[in-house]
Symmetry: C2
Subunit: 350 residues, 2 copies
């Protein structure tokens, strides 16, 4: 079976996925029996194209087209339908999987949540790297997927292409996970690392993170802990079966951490990290985000730079820590691929 | 479908698995649709019991029986068939899955390899934590499993219950893995940690490792790097498609590392680790085991004590490091469970 893919949102993540699909077509077919075509790409600002010719878009040509900053509507393809909005594309595209990679709004979850809902209602599988829908509406969306007999997958919503949700589903199965704790924001970890290792003042480290493209122009989402909080909520609700919202999470960022704090910790053989943590105690799930002084023997203490890591505390496997990229064009594109491979595995075995 | 399990080898790992099966029956049924009975347990020295009554062994009673050091032949059960050898049990037991957990002989791979072959030929799935068969005969056994339409799984052969093979199969799928590098022997890592952190001389650290049960009375397997080498061969052959044997692996243990070396490295901001590594370069797969000085920024440098860790260098996910237990009764028992859950998933979807 050839999986038909339609992509909503044509930014960095879309491009990362398209490059992987372009470069790995033969590898994926030979090793995983994964065959695909891309039938549509739509973007609120850049336009849209849809093809119902059985062959899909010429991915090579399409990447060149968007890298040349040309409007998607103008992509040359016979019988192309152009100019459709996101919801129209989701409903009408000949697609088995909708890839949702629009801008993330963690306050409202929109427009991503509407996209996910429309796709699931149309009985199309959804893969996304958008943390809005899962942070705010996971339970509702998972139920909608179940009712419609399709999958809703979101590996890239936390730690990009470092497997977290697939890890819990396939590699930690059978465990009772009692705590998930880690470094969920690369920008703040980069800043804290620079403060300790290079004695670089906070403001300078933040400016460097912005210069390197880690931090947004408005850094509050990172340094005040909002980004980590959105991720902790997902881990609490998806990994531990919680039903938390922002109001349930104690949140403190790194803006109160001074160079003196960092140096004092170092002298004590400790290290500050911005930690996101969710815990189960009986039926109660709690969560927080705050700077913590960790002993250097903690696996999370050694995680330096713009990297993410999580420790899963389990009843059978013990403590399992995974560390890897938390961002990146190809890494985040990969998160979509691993979810599509999981869908393909299930479809092939039916 | 109720999976029927027969266990060959009744030592620590068998007991770990039985405890998990005893304690998690309802959890596994409700969350994974995993239902099972244990139809036989056989051990070369302790005897054997087989039941064909549709209900299997009373696991609670059986654990009590073996913890009281009573011969397995004397386990009280109606219509029990006792005294069968391993191969007879494998062939005759009413079983879908054979659990192979006998003593590991990495020189010959026996008797485990014969057990695995007989099980696969009898079209029974095999799960094992025994590194002999995979280190020596992986290609042949994988082919035998394929021909007979059953699965051969071995999560516990490397890093016990910390997922490695399931990670590569389900969570790093689609990647080209170009290097796997890590700390594969807990005993030597414990010794090196003690030497650096507590300035404990090598002999004393080794004696402590033996006292704590990490190291064998004859420590050569650990400190000379043989154990790590067997694991590296598995990673090279299974993870990267190699066909290496002992003769292909450069091997050096930690016996040449002095306190001076450790302290000199520390002064340079480095740390010695016994590293096992396998690499792909074009079509060529190479491997080595040797002490390496790592910068403290390396994720492997922070791994202290009797713990294992591996970094997978991939083309799409970047570097992914996983750290966790490398031994333990429950952890190793869990490795068998995760493999059985993978088999159950496939059987249920057919």
């Amino acid at each position: 079976m050839v999986l038909r893919i339609a992509i909503v949102g044509c930014g960095v993540v879309c491009r990362g996925l398209l490059k992987i699909l372009r470069d790995k077509r033969t590898f994926l077919m030979e090793n995983y029996g994964f065959e695909f075509i891309v039938t549509a790409v739509t973007d609120k600002f850049k336009g849209s194209v849809m093809l119902d010719n059985g062959a899909g878009l010429d991915i090579d040509a399409f990447i060149e087209h968007i890298e040349a900053q040309k409007p998607i509507n103008e992509f040359p393809a016979e019988d192309a339908i152009t100019g459709l909005g996101s919801v129209d594309t989701i409903q009408r595209a000949p697609a088995d999987i909708i890839v949702e990679v629009t801008f993330t709004d963690v306050k409202t979850g929109e427009p991503a949540t509407t996209h996910v809902k429309e796709a699931l209602k149309a009985k199309k599988h959804v893969v996304t790297t958008n943390k809005g829908p899962t942070a705010l509406f996971h339970r509702e969306l998972a139920q909608l997927a179940k009712v419609n007999g399709v999958q809703f997958r979101y590996e890239g919503a936390v730690m990009s292409g470092t497997p977290i949700f697939n890890l819990m589903e396939f590699c930690l199965a059978g465990n009772d996970i009692v705590e998930i704790k880690g470094i969920l924001n690369g920008t703040t970890n980069f800043i804290l690392t620079k403060m300790e290792e290079d004695k670089m003042p906070y403001e300078e480290a933040l400016a460097l993170a912005q210069k390197l493209g880690y931090a947004e122009a408005d850094p509050a989402g990172d340094v005040e802990g909002f980004d980590a909080m959105a991720k902790v909520i997902q881990l609490a609700n998806i990994g531990m079966g919680g039903d938390l919202t922002e109001a349930d999470v104690e949140r403190e960022g790194i803006t109160g951490i001074t160079m003196e704090d960092v140096e004092k910790a170092k002298a004590e053989g400790m290290r500050y990290k911005l930690i996101g943590c969710t815990r189960k105690s009986g039926d109660k799930i709690s969560a927080y985000v705050r700077p913590e002084k960790l002993p250097l023997s903690d696996p999370l203490a050694g995680v330096g730079g713009a990297v993410n890591a999580l420790t899963f505390k389990t009843d059978l496997s013990g403590d399992v820590t995974i560390q890897g990229a938390g961002a990146g064009e190809i890494e985040t594109g990969y998160a979509l691929l691993i979810d599509m491979l999981a869908i393909n595995r299930e479809l092939k075995s039916q």
